[in-house]
Symmetry: C2
Subunit: 301 residues, 2 copies
Amino acid sequence: MIGSLDALVRALSPKPVLAVAVAQDAHVLLALRNAADAGLCRPLLIGNEAAIFAAADAAGVALGDMEILPCEGDVECCRAAVRLVREGRAQAVMKGLCGTATILREVLHAETGLRESALLSYVSVFELPGFERLIFLTDPALNMYPDTDAKKHIIHNAVSVARAMGVALPVVACVCALETVNPKMPPTLDAAELVRLWQEREIQNCIVTGPLALDNCLYREAALHKGIEDENAGRADILLVPNIEAGNVLHKAFSMVLGAPGAGVLVGARAPVVITSRVDSEEFKLRSIALALHIAAERNA
Amino acid sequence: MIGSLDALVRALSPKPVLAVAVAQDAHVLLALRNAADAGLCRPLLIGNEAAIFAAADAAGVALGDMEILPCEGDVECCRAAVRLVREGRAQAVMKGLCGTATILREVLHAETGLRESALLSYVSVFELPGFERLIFLTDPALNMYPDTDAKKHIIHNAVSVARAMGVALPVVACVCALETVNPKMPPTLDAAELVRLWQEREIQNCIVTGPLALDNCLYREAALHKGIEDENAGRADILLVPNIEAGNVLHKAFSMVLGAPGAGVLVGARAPVVITSRVDSEEFKLRSIALALHIAAERNA
C-alpha cells in the first residue's frame, strides 16, 4: 500500500504525457512547471499560443521544454485533449482555463469521448493525522445528490482509485449522521441498500458498510465504545458521503482547516482528469497531478 | 469576546443548579463530578437512587455532596427537571440515561415545558487552529433537513449563543458547496432567501451572508483569491450548515479528527439543555456544561 501521497511524486518512466486543455491559465501553468520539474510528466499545452506565453509570464513560469499544441476555442481544445488520449498520445487530461462542464462534455461524448463507466466522479484522498492508512473521500465536488444507483457507480470509481493506491480490498463506509436506518433520513436508507447490493455481489472488490456517523467510520475505538457490532466499523478506507454539501465541507475541513496532505482526481473515464482550483495549495495540485498519472500508469500496467 | 472556551470553565457565584434527568448514567456522572470539582455548578441528580449509586460505583465517581432527587420513570424524571427550571430552582437541564426525544418532549411541552422560540437547535463551538475567533456550527445534531423558515430560527438560536459568548454582531455564513445560486442546489436558494430576510430585518442582531463554500466562509484570503466581493466572506463566526449530514461530519472532523477544543448545547428553550454523548471527550463534556451554565447566567444577568 502507498501510505504516503508524496510517494506518488516521483519520476515515471517512460514519462507520461498530460494533455492540458485551454492551458492559458497562470495557476495551472505553475502546477505544471512543478510537475515537470518533479519528473512526473511531459505537459502538452493545448490552447492559444500567445495567451499561454502571456499567462506563463504573468505567473513567472518558465515554459522551458513544455510542448504547445496551438488550438482555438474551449470546445476544440477539450476535444483535442480527449483525442490525444484516445490515440494513446497522452495518458491523462487536465482542465485549464475553461468551464468544468465544457471539458466533461468532451470526456463523456458518446462517440469521440472517453466514456467508460456509468458516471464520472471526483475522489479525494488525504493523509490524516493519526492514521496509518490513506482516507479516500467521494464525491465532494461533482455529483450533487446521487441516488442509490449513482452511489453504486461512485463507489466503483473510488474503489478503482483505492486499489490503484495499493488497497486491495478497501472498506467503503456510507457516511450518515447516525448508525441506524431511519426512514426520515434518506442517506441511511441508501446505506442499507448499498450494503445489500454488496452482499449480493452487485458491488465488488471492496467491503461496504453503514450507515455510520463519521467517528464510527474512522475510529475503531469509537465504534467499539458505541457497541457497534460491525467489524468493519471504524476501519473505513473510503468515505462515501451522501450529498455534495457533506462532501465539500469535509474535503475543505481536511485540506484547509487541518492542512492535511491531499490530492483529488476525476475518475470514471478511460483516463483520469485533473481539475484543480485556484485556491488549492501548490502541494495539493502537484499531488493531484501525480495521483492522476499514477492511476493512468496502473491502468496501463 | 470570550476567545477561549476554557475561560468558561470557572466558578460561578452563586453556583447554578444543573438538573440532570435520569442521572443513573456512568459517563454523565463522571462529567458532573468534573463540573462540580471545577466549581461550575451544583448537580441535582434526578432518578432512581439505587441506580445512581450503582452507576457512580461503576464509573468510580464519588458523588460527594451532589444532591439526589429520587424519581422513577424517564418521563417523570424529565418532567421534574423541567419543572425545577420553571420554578427557578435550576438554571439548566442535562440529559442522563434516557432518549433525547423523551427529554425534548418535556422541554417542548406546551403547558409544562420551557418552550420559547419556534424550535430547539443544537449549536457547537470550536477553537480551530489558526483562528483568533471562536467558530460556531449549527445544526449538526438535531434538525435534519430544515427549510428556510426553520433555518431562520436556527440562526436566531445560534446568534443568541454567539452573543452570550461576547460576539456582538456575529457573521452567519450559509454554508453550501459553492458560491453561486444554483437552482439545482436547494441550499443555495435558501442562502439567498436568508440573506434577503436579513436585509429586510426579519433576521436581526447578526450579519447573514452566503451562499459560500466552507473555505470562503472561514478564510478571508480564500474569498479574496476567488474574487468574492462580499466583505463578510471569510469572516464567518457562525457556520449555518444546510443539512444534518454536512453538520455532523463537520462537527466530528473538528472535534475528533482535528481534536479542536469544543463544546455543544441545545438552545431555543427558556434554559439551555446539555446533551452529551458517550463518545465525547471529557473535555468536550465539561466545556458543554460550562457553556450551558454561561448561557443561563447571561440570560439571567
